[in-house]
């Protein structure tokens, strides 16, 4: 039998770690009324979210209804199961029933179509306590998040995990050394489920466990770019860094860009310079990879970037938020600007019969002056929106105001006009003379 099920905590007091969060859950349950918001438990796998929900229901004497990603979670299914549950009293005569929706950060795809919306409706009208569970809070639809109380489950520290593992060993009549338990709990990286599974795998067919039994059963490698950058700044060993970079599944280009984005977190110019030296070298290798189409060079680029950056960081650790490279934002907004500009030139060109290139090179300044002089007129004439107008005026607020005003006037005029005549003809020939 699966030990993680066999030794799943039955009571809140049996859970390991996250004491503050568990207390919050208990007081939420004890004073629960239909006006209270549902909880969202989030955190890495194996930190006790699902167990906590089950243990809470057990301790409170509540019934429990659980829906997870293996159940169908379409709109209809959710309404039928969670919806009717949320509005009815428990069958057993218990005071309440706890509705647990696991893995709500995976509410997408065709199988769960309309699920998030249905869930939102259920949350609005539920008469029973609800707990939502997710790995990553940011992946839960924002409208759901805003109606719930988020509680974070943090990774379990190795030393708090050891007593639990020792208890399981005793219950299974296994002899385990402390070094083995320490090794298991460190390797698990805060994931209790992983630790217990590792222990079970190592214990197959044995009565006495030594650290050697463990070698073959190691936790699956999973790593995010955030973990990698954290590790770089913490100064993990070179092998570890290279392995982790591999495990993120990001291309070296992206890893280099992320690292470059975090250069600003280094304390002084000397270290920034040192970081850039290795990033530059990594970039050289990236260039060669592409030019020669020789992808074996990729690994050098990646290794040079992470190791070099780690050297520059000198194990200082990281305290600020790790955010995506600002360069990506800049590229994004530059692209948007270009699109607006292109669209505007296209409109001017077809309106006034001037080639786009000539417009761009010779007439744009002139047009700016004209528009500056009578912005309302051009908004109407060229049907400009605030973004396009802003290219002429370089004053965002004013542009928005002008466009808004013109729109309102237009709407008012249309209202009056509809009763009498069809809209005024605005063909190019009719208004062209006003410009020249």
């Amino acid at each position: 039998m699966d030990w993680t099920e066999k030794y799943r905590p039955r009571h809140i007091r049996d859970l390991v770690g996250n004491i503050g969060v568990l207390q919050t859950m208990v007081s939420w349950a004890q004073s629960w009324s239909p006006k209270d918001r549902p909880l969202i438990l989030y955190g890495k796998p194996g930190t006790g979210k699902t167990s906590a929900a089950h243990a809470l229901a057990g301790d409170m004497g509540w019934d429990i209804i659980e829906l997870n990603a293996s159940d169908q979670r379409t709109k209809a299914a959710l309404e039928k199961i969670a919806g009717s549950s949320a509005l009815t009293a428990p069958l057993s005569g218990a005071e309440h029933k706890l509705i647990v929706l696991d893995e709500v950060d995976n509410l997408h795809g065709t199988a769960d179509r309309g699920g998030a919306k249905a869930l939102l409706d259920i949350i609005k009208k539920t008469q029973q306590p609800m707990i939502l569970i997710a790995n990553i809070l940011q992946d839960v639809p924002a409208e759901l998040r805003s109606r719930c109380e988020p509680l974070q489950f943090r990774s379990i520290q190795a030393r708090s995990l050891i007593p639990r593992l020792r208890f399981i060993c005793a219950a299974e009549h296994l002899q385990c050394s402390d070094t083995l338990l320490e090794e298991v709990s460190t390797r698990a990286e805060g994931d209790v489920r992983a630790a217990i599974t590792m222990l079970q795998a190592a214990a197959i067919g044995k009565k006495v466990l030594t650290p050697q039994d463990l070698s073959s059963s190691s936790k699956d490698e999973r790593s995010t770019i955030f973990d990698l950058i954290g590790a770089v700044f913490r100064g993990r060993s070179h092998e570890e860094l290279v392995r982790q970079a591999q495990a993120t599944g990001e291309t070296p280009e992206r890893i280099v860009q992320w690292l470059e984005g975090s250069v600003g977190l280094l304390p002084d110019y000397q270290r920034v310079a040192q970081a850039y030296r290795s990033l530059r070298r990594a970039d050289l290798y990236l260039g060669r990879t592409i030019r020669r189409q020789y992808y074996l060079l990729w690994r050098y680029a990646q290794a040079i970037a992470v190791i070099g950056m780690a050297e520059a960081a000198q194990k200082q650790g990281i305290h600020a938020r790790i955010s995506p490279p600002t360069r990506w934002q800049r590229i994004g907004s530059a692209r948007r600007q270009r699109a607006i500009r292109g669209d505007l030139l296209h409109r001017l060109s077809s309106r006034y019969h001037i080639p786009e290139r000539v417009l761009r090179e010779e007439y744009l300044t002139l047009f700016s002056l004209l528009v500056e002089h009578a912005p309302e007129h051009y908004v109407l004439e060229l049907d400009l929106d605030a973004d396009a107008l802003n290219l002429f005026l370089h004053d965002r607020e004013r542009s928005v105001m002008i466009v808004k005003k013109v729109k309102e006037e237009g709407a008012a005029r249309e209202k009056m006009a509809t009763s009498r005549a069809p809209r005024k003809d605005t063909s190019p020939g009719g208004t062209q003379s006003t410009l020249f």
Partner: protein, 247 residues
């Protein structure tokens, strides 16, 4: 092991009763009876069914637990004619039940019982109010209520000595009162609970065939419908959780 012959109508009634709530169940086979208890996926309603040995024409069995795909069985019922005889046979520890009727031999693969929800605990709730009325009257009332609303209140008014059902829709309203002379038996205690018609409609179709149905009620408590079939050799209990009235 199971070897039995049963009238198709009794079999159909049993399967219909379960199918009203669930699509699969654990059927317990014992030397003197078959029984099952199951709750629907939303934990809102429960069915307990028992068919005694006497309901069968022949019956031989040893203790066993079968995983039945009720949805499949229900489809198969359509092929049976009225008055057909059904031969059920399952070898010791077998995974396939043979159902023979009207020259068909249907081999039904059983589900692994471990994949089906465990039997729920029998609820221990006190329901003081009790009414007995005909299944037909009950089904008619449920039908009437579903025309105006999606929920129905059941209750007893001890002062005026009647059992009542009320359904309130957005615009319409329907009320039925049955005095002591119009029902078979009535305990005079004040009780009232609200129920979802979604479930009651499905149960009503089954209960409509029963000669009489015992209704047990409490104050905002589940309702229990209790009735016999197959000449009192079969018994069904339905339990339905009440709706909470939002204030």
């Amino acid at each position: 092991m199971l070897k039995a012959t049963i009238d198709a109508d009794i079999f159909r009634e049993s399967i219909d009763a379960i199918a009203a709530l669930v699509t699969e169940c654990r059927m317990h086979v014992e030397p003197d009876r078959l029984y099952t208890r199951a709750v629907d996926t939303a934990n809102v309603a429960m069915v307990s069914l028992q068919v005694k040995k006497e309901a069968f024409e022949t019956y031989q069995a040893t203790k066993e637990e079968l995983g039945l795909d009720i949805a499949k069985l229900k489809n198969m019922l359509g092929m049976m004619g009225k008055g057909d005889k059904l031969d059920l046979s399952l070898p010791e520890g077998g995974h396939r039940m043979e159902i023979a009727f009207n020259r068909y031999r249907y081999a039904l693969t059983l589900l692994d019982v471990n994949t089906i929800r465990k039997d729920p605990n029998p609820p221990t709730i006190e329901l003081p109010g009790k009414v007995i009325l005909t299944g037909e009257a009950l089904q008619a009332a449920i039908k009437a209520a579903s025309m105006v609303s999606d929920k129905i209140a059941l209750g007893i008014d001890p002062d005026n000595k009647f059992f009542y059902m009320v359904a309130e829709g957005d615009t319409d309203h329907i009320r039925l009162e049955l005095g002591q002379s119009e029902v078979e038996s009535l305990t005079l205690v004040e009780v009232r609970s609200l129920f979802s018609l979604d479930y009651l409609k499905d149960m009503g179709r089954v209960m409509g065939k029963a000669e009489k149905v015992e209704i047990h009620l409490g104050v905002n408590h589940p309702v229990k419908f209790s009735f016999d079939f197959a000449d009192r050799n079969g018994h069904i209990d339905y339990l339905l959780a009440p709706r909470i009235e939002a204030e």
